[in-house]
């Protein structure tokens, strides 16, 4: 029978053919917890009578939101989770490796066809390697840690087919912002978004992670790119490989809740303006707006490819002295690669502050908070009121290219206008 990727993944794990709408207790292949939602998940695991987790090798545990600890309560949470990891025999990446979603993928902890849960809404990022991955709350995570399974309602899917090839300085972030602008902040609620088509096939894993990461910003339960030669080449490059044999290519005649055709050929850089991620406009509509802070990083855009793009836009220029440019690699691995390529030196020379791998200013907790009236331009994923500090501050979202161009001029700038 014709099926979506999601239906194929769940059918592959169940004793019967699964269709959207089915409800089932499905086994999970990996469960991710971090320093914000992890402590409560561990409490719930224990309240449920948990003594040992379902499989320590399938638990991904690290700290990324408040690292190094930015407060005494944060430090206490880290201590509590360290102790739990040690008692349970779970590999603890601690504060060393970076942002959960980047680490989960680059360490090969998530593979095509896997069913993965994480107590973080951007867990949908792992769809970039062909997994069904979804964010859950801490109590659901307590259940998952205890039983190694969770109730799933198999979601309907939206097919987002992207044709064409990107113009220079336009890329994955612009595509996903334009899709969110089209579908709306609840346009994919309870649904899986399948990103397909020539533009996705030509995209490397980092760009696919950017797209899948933001599926939640349209309400999506998951974002998925069909695994292909690019996926398998990436897995080989990190020393991982899947033993699954199922074909996870979605059938064109599967039942979709919606089929949306996009063409990236004429796409221009996109910006999400305050205070909702679906308030998406062309960069030309907001060019010239002064910015106080530019953040390049996060699980959305904190990879080497993102920094390379930003560095190419930067060239030999310097960042505006009126702007605080904060660069935060998403992981130690991406940091080292960016460092060894000389890009970190270039950013620091140009006036940027470079911080260690973490969520950085994205969630308004650790550092880089905004005062009332300030404006941030950010490559992260949310521009909600108060997200990066004061509720009277404004956050605009964009690509690394747009962020770098704007950081040079101190105002929102079309990266195509910078050499």
């Amino acid at each position: 029978m014709s099926a979506t990727i999601t239906e194929k993944i769940f059918s592959g794990r169940c004793a019967r053919e699964v269709v959207a709408g089915d409800v089932m207790m499905a086994p999970i292949d990996a469960a991710m917890i971090h320093d914000i939602t992890g402590p409560l998940a561990i409490d719930k695991f224990m309240e449920m009578g948990g003594t040992t987790v379902f499989d320590p090798a399938k638990v991904i545990l690290l700290f990324d939101h408040q690292v190094p600890a930015d407060s005494i309560p944060a430090a206490q949470n880290h201590v509590m989770m360290r102790r739990f990891a040690e008692e349970q025999g779970i590999l603890n990446y601690d504060v060393h490796e970076g942002v959960c979603h980047q680490v989960a993928v680059e360490k090969g902890r998530v593979l095509p066809g896997d069913i993965v849960v994480g107590s973080d809404s951007h867990t949908c990022t792992y769809g970039a390697v062909g997994a069904f991955a979804t964010g859950i709350g801490s109590t659901d995570m307590g259940f998952a840690l205890r039983f190694g399974a969770l109730y799933f309602r198999i979601p309907e899917s939206i097919r987002a087919e992207a044709a064409g090839a990107f113009a220079p300085r336009v890329g994955a972030k612009d595509l996903v912002l334009s899709i969110i602008g089209d579908l709306g902040a609840d346009g994919a609620t309870y649904k899986a978004v399948e990103f397909t088509g020539p533009a996705m096939e030509a995209m490397d894993i980092p760009g696919r992670m950017t797209c899948c990461n933001m599926a939640i910003e349209m309400g999506g339960k998951a974002g998925i790119v069909p695994p292909d030669a690019t996926t398998h080449a990436y897995l080989a490059s990190i020393g991982a490989r899947t033993t699954r044999k199922e074909d996870l290519t979605p059938d064109d005649d599967a039942t979709y809740a919606a089929w949306k055709d996009y063409d990236v050929t004429d796409l221009v850089p996109q910006v999400a303006v305050p205070h909702n991620v679906d308030n998406v406009v062309d960069v030309t509509d907001v060019a010239g707006i002064p910015v106080n802070q530019v953040f390049i990083g996060s699980c959305t855009n904190g990879r080497y490819d993102d920094f390379l793009e930003a560095a190419e836009v930067l060239g030999d220029e310097t960042f505006s002295p009126d702007v605080r440019v904060i660069i935060v690699p998403a992981s130690r691995t991406e940091y080292l690669r960016t460092l060894r390529a000389g890009l970190i030196e270039r950013f620091v020379e140009a006036g940027a502050i470079v911080e260690g791998p973490s969520c950085g200013p994205c969630m308004g907790g650790a550092f880089g908070l905004l005062a009332p009236g300030e404006v941030s331009l950010s490559t992260s994923n949310r521009n909600f009121r108060g997200r990066q500090g004061s509720t009277e501050a404004e956050v605009y979202l964009c690509s690394p290219a747009t962020a770098a161009a704007s950081a040079i001029h101190g105002v929102i700038t079309d990266p195509r206008e910078v050499a």
Partner: protein, 162 residues
Amino acid sequence: MRVWKFGDDIDTDAIIPGRFLTIYESAELATHAFEGTRDDFAREAKEGDIIVGGRNFGCGSSREHAPLAIKGAGITVVVARSFARIFYRNCINTGVLPVICPDADTIREGDTVEIFPEKGCLTANGVRHDIEPVPAFMQKIITAGGLVEYAHAIEELELCTK
């Protein structure tokens, strides 16, 4: 029961800002609920009040601190035209009843609302409005008293692989 009325796309950062996420105790979280966007809520919300939102209530972060902050304020019912998925499930797991009411936009600040899940309706100032039933598998969790209690009652996990 007083209605606290909110609009569309109320995100979990608004319900409980990121800087308070080291707190896990619901009563303490409640003192920061809607801080910066609706400061009278934490001061004046009373046991038994009801939150009524528009579309996509609870969007954004998976933080369970959001329903916990609401529950800590004494509120155990949130009505909305639609909910974001993770928040909806977090509500059920933590003992806050999420009620989908297509007419939620007609309910006003300060209205008196009563919920009748078994009749599939609510009343706002005496006017009846339909509400959607909770999915069957979620109803089992509600009936058990939350996911923790549900977990305790499990004798054998009914995995789909069997």
